[in-house]
């Protein structure tokens, strides 16, 4: 289909089905039950994050997975995309399409500049350069360019860039008829509008913003499969494998890597633009180096260099981040109520460090376990399980290795 081989087409449809049916899949427990409270993830805000971070990591994987260049500053492009989109909402109008386009263009230009500078070095030096430049962007956004008192207030500093009632919005209204801020929309379809479906005890939410993001994610995923399978993708893998041989084979490696860098920067900008489209607010913390680190973690969790790994990694990370931070001491007490009081308190006291605000700790341990036992990420886990059960049918995981 559309220039994909059979395996990739199957993989694409599996991902498409999963993302379009996500409101069902992510809501396995009936509404109102305590399990739903904890484990259901089918609400718009979180589902949007799944697919948007999916886009971000798919793009990151084109750079890191194919060329092996580890960028530690990709959050900068996410932030740049977010700010660009919000500016579009402030100045032009609330349609998300121009906002997303501007986000992609601006982050692409930044990626070209940053890539041109940092690709003078490779390996760890490249990583450090990207980290430093991204952190520079963060500080520019946080303070230098964000001073509300100056006339160059591009980012509104600590507060974050947000809409206000006196924005220009040339092709839209500054204020709605009832005096509120207008909402982001796709040619009239508000991103926050949802259709709720009540089936038995279950409540499924179909959110316009989610489906908009999911479709863009699927397009991004398709583009990434095409790049992986193209001669260009092969060249990028050759860069990772042996740059010396490439140079002596008559190929200039620099523009190849730069092109991959710019493509992944544009993906990150797209993700940033989408984040702002869902909630028109952009803060500098999106560009912080911990955010860049999270992108790397998501990519490695899922499986670097595989097609579907980034999507799985992003989903896994966002899901557990959300679940773990929701579990607090009273939930733990509920769960452990069957134990004798003394032991219960002891256990809650111990587990306290791993949940709620301590979610980083659990996620960190999971990350370590994956790295140690599944160096190929969760995709490798899936492959091993599939192999163990000797299923002939190629599950979505087995078809993800980029090699033909």
């Amino acid at each position: 289909m559309l220039g994909l081989n059979k395996k990739d087409t199957t993989l694409f449809w599996i991902v498409a089905a999963m993302s379009l049916l996500a409101p069902f899949i992510l809501n396995p427990f009936p509404e109102g039950s305590s399990l739903a409270q904890m484990f259901n993830a089918g609400y718009p805000d979180l589902m949007q994050r799944f697919v948007i971070f999916g886009i971000l990591v798919i793009g990151f994987n084109i750079l890191f997975g194919l060329t092996g260049y580890l960028s530690f500053g990709h959050a900068a492009f996410l932030g740049i995309g977010s700010y660009s989109a919000v500016w579009m909402f402030k100045l032009v109008g609330m349609n998300v399409i121009p906002a997303i386009l501007l986000a992609m263009i601006v982050s692409g230009v930044f990626a070209l500049l940053i890539g041109y500078v940092s690709l003078r070095r490779s390996g760890i030096y490249f990583s450090i350069l990207t980290l430093a430049i991204a952190q520079m962007c963060y500080n520019l956004a946080y303070s230098v360019l964000g001073n509300p008192a100056s006339s160059y207030n591009l980012t509104n500093g600590e507060t974050g860039l947000q809409l206000s009632l006196d924005d220009a919005r040339i092709f839209g209204e500054s204020v709605t008829a009832d005096g509120a801020l207008p909402v982001t929309n796709f040619f009239g379809l508000a991103m926050r509008s949802s259709y709720k479906m009540d089936v038995g005890g279950w409540l499924f939410t179909f959110n316009a913003g989610y489906y908009f993001s999911a479709i863009i994610m699927l397009i991004s995923f398709y583009v990434s499969i095409r790049i992986f399978r193209s001669p260009f993708g092969m060249m990028l893998r050759a860069v990772k494998s042996n740059q010396q041989r490439m140079n002596y084979t008559g190929l200039n490696t620099r523009p190849y890597i730069l092109a991959a860098f710019v493509i992944s920067g544009i993906y990150a900008g797209l993700a940033g633009g989408l984040l702002s489209s869902m909630d028109p607010l952009a803060g500098a913390e999106r560009m912080h180096w911990t955010a860049s680190g999270e992108i790397v973690i998501m990519a490695i969790l899922g499986g670097v260099g595989t097609l579907v790994g980034p999507v799985i990694g992003a989903g896994f990370n966002e899901y557990f981040k959300n679940i773990l931070s929701k579990i607090n001491d009273s939930v733990l007490h509920d769960w452990l109520a069957f134990m004798p009081d003394g032991i219960e308190n002891l256990m809650v006291g111990f587990l306290h460090y791993f949940v709620g605000k301590g979610w980083h700790l659990t996620l960190g341990i999971m990350f370590m376990l994956v790295i140690i036992f599944l160096p190929g990420g969760l995709v490798e886990g899936g492959q091993r399980i599939a192999k163990k059960f000797g299923r002939k049918k190629k599950s979505d995981e087995t078809s993800t290795t980029p090699a033909e």
Partner: protein, 253 residues
């Protein structure tokens, strides 16, 4: 006038004069060997031909054009391919992909953004790569992981990759270094066959006299960074200066 003309090349590394006054002329469609004891400057000289090193003095002309100051990929695009001492291939890719990359490089130049083209639409490249593998007797290995091959096969693949670009000059840097006897003989046979079947000029750097005397039409002996003598193989064998400087102090032929 040879296809490769080296005039008065000198190169100094700190206190060491690695090359001085090197004069060399490689005639078209011959196999020219450069031999010499360890540290004679053979590899340094080769690196001056491919853009890895910039000599301090002198000129290196390939087919009337200077190669000095050009990058390795530009020099390759001029028609010079290089085989390394340790086979340099794309270990993470399979054998067919390894074959396709130089063909793409030859067809599309140093950079082309073919990100949306499908590999299936590149029939001509795939066919040429498969044909080349067949010619080299590696057709069965087409889907093998390149890193998993034996050293002899890696060498064979590397040579095949270079030949697929139809280079005018093939540079070989100790192509049989570290190889088992059988692999060495295979490589010699392969190179002999290439020499006979193709219009190609070969410049080879080699330690192994067996290899040199089976292949070379012309030999330059390098000692301490200067060419000692340049002559036909028969004359080199018995040349007293060569024996003294080279053959005498290491093991004989």
């Amino acid at each position: 006038m040879g296809i490769l003309e080296v005039k008065n090349v000198g190169k100094r590394f700190g206190g060491l004069q690695a090359l001085s006054n090197v004069e060399l002329s490689v005639k078209e469609n011959t196999c020219h060997a450069i031999i010499g004891p360890n540290g004679a400057g053979k590899s340094t000289l080769l690196n001056c031909f491919v853009g890895k090193l910039m000599p301090d003095t002198g000129s290196v002309m390939f087919d009337g054009q200077s190669v000095l100051g050009r990058t390795p990929y530009e020099i390759n695009q001029m028609g010079i391919s290089r085989v390394f001492q340790t086979p340099e291939i794309f270990g993470d890719l399979n054998v067919l992909e390894n074959m396709m990359i130089p063909i793409f490089a030859k067809r599309d130049g140093a950079f082309r953004m073919h990100a949306f083209e499908n590999m299936l639409d590149e029939r001509d490249v795939v066919e040429k790569a498969e044909h080349m593998l067949e010619e080299m007797g590696m057709a069965d290995a087409r889907n093998d992981h390149a890193a998993s091959m034996s050293r002899g096969n890696k060498r064979r693949l590397e040579i095949a990759m270079c030949l697929s670009q139809d280079p005018r000059l093939l540079l070989l840097d100790e192509p049989t270094a570290g190889m088992a006897r059988a692999d060495t003989n295979n490589t010699i046979d392969l190179l002999k066959q290439i020499k006979e079947e193709r219009d190609i000029t070969i410049a080879i750097i080699e330690h192994d006299m067996h290899v040199v005397f089976s292949l070379a039409d012309r030999i330059t002996v390098l000692a301490q960074g200067t060419p000692l003598v340049e002559d036909d193989p028969e004359n080199i064998k018995g040349h007293p200066k060569v024996r003294e400087a080279y053959l005498g102090e290491t093991q004989a032929v």
